[in-house]
Symmetry: C2
Subunit: 109 residues, 2 copies
DNA sequence: ATATTATATCGCAATATTACGATTGTTATT
DNA sequence: AATAACAATCGTAATATTGCGATATAATAT
């Protein structure tokens, strides 16, 4: 027990859940917003801006990276991060499709 | 440690994260898809369809309910669930706003 | 009243997540 | 070569999540 039974769900359901999971933390939302806002790569400025320890931010960045949402390039002594456009589009499509599948037409409960 | 430092983030960031968190499990995606598909209230049919124990499903329903995504009405001996249109719309708006804030214009990394 | 059916809650074990100090690499500067 | 700056990883503690059996609750049916 204590471990998600992914094998009983469809790939689609597991994919959607994992995408939502990557977004399911305010620090990761904040990081993404910060990257988007600066409209370019962001190199190292995150630590100190967010109020979390360096190790913690690095861990969140790793999660965003392994979900494919961001990509990083080594730029001298620091690392630059930016949105991965391809995965972001996928995210928009999949999540939009999922949310859009509900047409709030029939009144019930 | 081990507890999310919500106080250092904005209400917006915490709201988004909590909505995403409610969606960050394949069972809860499956439940929502099932409710949406039947296009009406769904009463009790979930147990047996999903392959999870009744207690587990009840727990996931509770999480979806406390996130406001679904609402339940007692219908005799069983309970009927349906999407909460208001919160679903909010989710669509917030998510669209968040995802749409990235215009993949500038090539960087 | 008792039994039946459907759902919620409790209690527990296993696993995952969050956070951070300390350490380790890696590159640039002196 | 030594130092500085930055980021990743390790190790660990605290907390949260997941799953389920057992039990409790609530409404209907007999």
């Amino acid at each position: 027990m204590g471990l998600t039974r992914t094998e009983i769900f469809t790939d689609e359901q597991n994919l959607l859940a994992s995408l939502f999971k990557a977004l399911a933390h305010p620090a990761r939302i904040a990081i993404l917003q910060r990257i988007i806002l600066s409209n370019t790569c962001i190199c190292g400025d995150l630590v100190g801006e967010l109020g979390l320890a360096q190790a913690t931010i690095s861990q969140h960045l790793k999660e965003l990276k392994s979900a494919g949402l961001i990509q990083g390039t080594i730029e001298g002594v620091s690392v630059c991060y930016c949105i991965n456009p391809k995965v972001w589009k996928l995210l928009e499509n999949k999540l939009g499709e999922f949310l859009g599948s509900y047409k709030g037409t029939t009144e019930c409960c």
